[in-house]
């Protein structure tokens, strides 16, 4: 049953993307570790970390596509789940610093010593153990999504209202995490990590493993998402997106369907955040900013909503563009990003992948129409 569930996921585009990701997971670290810096194929560590960061963003965009593309929930608060996952990992990394911090306290992170705290707050317990932190990476975003979704979907808040309150949610968290007495490092967040599972976070080897993990995790989540979407549940999901009341009158519990998807998506976002933090070396409240969450939406839209691979492509393209742009014309980046929002919604509503798929389908249909053996040669709309 489980195998058939996952086997169903492996459709052409998905397989291709998984192959690409796994290829990256192997080749990029190899080139970083094995080739000398003079070799033209050598990938410097900072580039690898940058690419790793893009892959984390891609996972976040994939998570958003699952709820937005397939369930019609436009979450403007996915950055919150990402950040919570990131904070869970950051807390683990903070506790690994031990007495190597500026104040040398074996238990308390520097900012707590600075704030004159005498003991570790209860919610920091357990984060010295990796397995616990890893669990929290899933549990905390999942729980928030569950509680939020439980209320929102049960009372049938949907459409733009839902979008606005998801935005309010991440905004409230932003304000909360800025407070010093929340116990998460306030303004500065969590940073100055030393090592992860005993390996230095700065070393090329660790960086390579983190990069490979990001690519593999993204591939796994892609397969999972594809499996969900291609199951009967996925069909119900699309039904919820397109005709929610019909689904309800067919006897499905729409709120449970949405809740499940929302929680799975939030957990994926949490994983993305957890992989992001050791690679960029910091997590701070700025990640909760509503603007960040909206940016995720545009990555997804650029790549192509409801295509699963589109968001991955979109996240990498937009962020790559951002890196180049802010390096060359920092003034113009917001113009470019703003323009992208407008142009994509106006002229490319299906995104890159959706538009290409549509064009391919059209051509195939045209060819089919020329061969008289096919009677039902009506053009099929792309998914």
């Amino acid at each position: 049953m489980i195998t058939s569930f996952f086997l169903r996921a492996l459709e052409g585009r998905i397989v291709a993307m998984v192959a690409v990701l796994l290829g990256f997971a192997v080749l990029v670290p190899m080139s970083n570790l094995l080739l000398g810096p003079d070799n033209p194929l050598h990938v410097p560590t900072y580039v690898m970390s940058l690419l790793g960061k893009y892959l984390c963003y891609a996972l976040l965009a994939l998570a958003l596509d699952l709820v937005w593309g397939y369930c019609g929930i436009l979450s403007l608060g996915h950055g919150a789940f990402f950040s919570l996952g990131g904070y869970a990992m950051g807390m683990y990394l903070m506790r690994q610093i031990g007495s190597r911090g500026v104040y040398g306290d074996p238990i308390l992170p520097d900012f707590m010593v600075f704030l004159n705290w005498k003991q570790l707050p209860w919610f920091w317990y357990g984060f010295d153990m990796f397995w616990f932190a890893a669990l929290m990476v899933l549990v905390v975003p999942g729980l928030l999504a569950f509680v939020f979704g439980w209320f929102a979907f049960r009372s049938r808040v949907n459409g733009v209202y839902l979008s606005i309150i998801t935005q309010a949610m991440t905004y409230a968290l932003l304000l909360a995490f800025f407070r010093n007495d929340m116990g998460f490092g306030g303004n500065n967040g969590l940073t100055d990590y030393k090592d992860i599972l005993g390996f230095s976070v700065q070393s090329d080897g660790t960086r390579s493993v983190l990069f490979a993990l990001s690519a593999i995790m993204l591939a796994l989540c892609l397969i999972l998402a594809s499996a969900i979407v291609r199951s009967k549940f996925g069909k119900v999901l699309l039904g919820v997106r397109d005709a929610e009341s019909r689904v309800r009158f067919l006897g499905f519990r729409v709120e449970n369907i949405k809740l499940f998807t929302f929680v799975v998506s939030a957990m994926m976002a949490g994983i993305a955040g957890a992989l992001f933090v050791p690679q960029v070396g910091i997590i701070n409240p700025g990640e909760f900013a509503p603007a960040n969450s909206i940016e995720v939406v545009i990555w997804t839209a650029v790549g192509g909503r409801s295509t699963l691979i589109g968001p991955i492509i979109g996240a990498v393209l937009v962020n790559g563009g951002k890196t180049i742009f802010t390096g060359v014309f920092p003034e113009f980046w917001l113009f470019a990003l703003g323009g992208l929002f407008v142009l994509v919604t106006l002229f490319l509503p299906k995104g890159i992948v959706g538009t290409v798929a549509q064009a391919l389908a059209k051509r195939r249909a045209a060819q089919a129409a020329e061969t008289p053996t096919h009677l039902n040669g009506k053009p099929q709309a792309a998914e």
């Binding site: 058939s4 069909k235 699309l238 005709a243 009341s245 689904v247 309800r248 009158f249 519990r253």
Partner: protein, 251 residues
């Protein structure tokens, strides 16, 4: 209050509901017997759609009783999904099918199987389910279009697909809101045959404006006006009622 010994499949008694002061239903009482095909007529705003909303749990009545299955089940305490699972299917006024799914998938989703999250995640189409879908495709005359997206169907075909989905749900009671609106005459006649066929195994309530269609159905008619029952009986009896003529037909 309620006579628990009733044999009615559906039992509405004194149901009232108002929206911002507008009384959509005014002490409406109405019963449907098992295996009955019933037509409902009435002018716009008579409360036909609101009545369906109440039966299917979309709207809660301000007062009154709504019981299902011989008085065993209080529908006012259930939500849409529960009511659908109890065996009440509903076709909307505007055909509502899943346009981004194929005809086949539409029926597969509607099949009366476990609708839980995990059951649907790991669902595999069995031979039995396959046969059932084939059967329904034949009934609603869509076998030749089974692999097409529902979006590409004609208006009439969408209406039929929706009726097919209701059949896949295997309901005890079907509520059908204006099934022939926008249909050609030939389609309308076929729909009447289809509904009569369906009514052999279950109860059907049809809301319709098309008097010719109702005559084709040849069943008991209820005329609603201003949220309550104006007249009930055969089509000839109802259409000769002066109140009905004044309220509905005359206009």
């Amino acid at each position: 209050m309620i006579d628990k010994t009733t044999n009615s499949l559906l039992y509405l008694n004194g149901v009232s509901v108002s929206f911002d002061g507008f009384k959509a239903l005014n002490s409406l009482s109405f019963t449907v017997e098992p295996g009955e095909l019933r037509a409902i007529i009435g002018p716009n705003g008579a409360g036909k759609t609101t009545m369906m909303d109440i039966i299917t749990g979309k709207t809660r009545p301000d007062s009154g009783d709504v019981y299902f299955d011989g008085g065993k089940i209080d529908l006012t305490k259930k939500d849409e999904a529960e009511i659908a699972q109890l065996g009440i299917g509903r076709k909307f006024q505007k055909p509502t099918v899943f346009e981004s799914h194929t005809v086949w998938d539409n029926l597969e989703l509607a099949l009366n199987r476990n609708r839980g999250v995990f059951a649907t995640l790991f669902y595999r189409l069995s031979a039995e389910d396959k046969n059932r879908i084939e059967e329904i495709l034949t009934t609603v005359r869509l076998t030749h279009r089974r692999d097409e997206l529902a979006a590409n169907l004609s208006h009439g075909q969408k209406q039929w697909l929706e009726i097919g989905m209701l059949l896949a749900q295997e309901p005890k009671l079907l509520l059908v809101d204006e099934p022939v609106a926008g249909m050609t005459d030939a389609e309308t006649a076929e729909t009447a045959i289809l509904l009569r066929e369906i009514a052999k195994t279950r109860s059907v309530v049809v809301v319709e404006h098309d008097m010719g269609f109702i005559r084709d159905l040849g069943v008991k008619v209820t005329c609603l006006a201003e949220g309550s029952v104006l007249a009930e009986g055969s089509i000839d009896f109802v259409s000769s009622d002066p109140k009905v003529i004044e309220n509905y037909l005359g206009r």
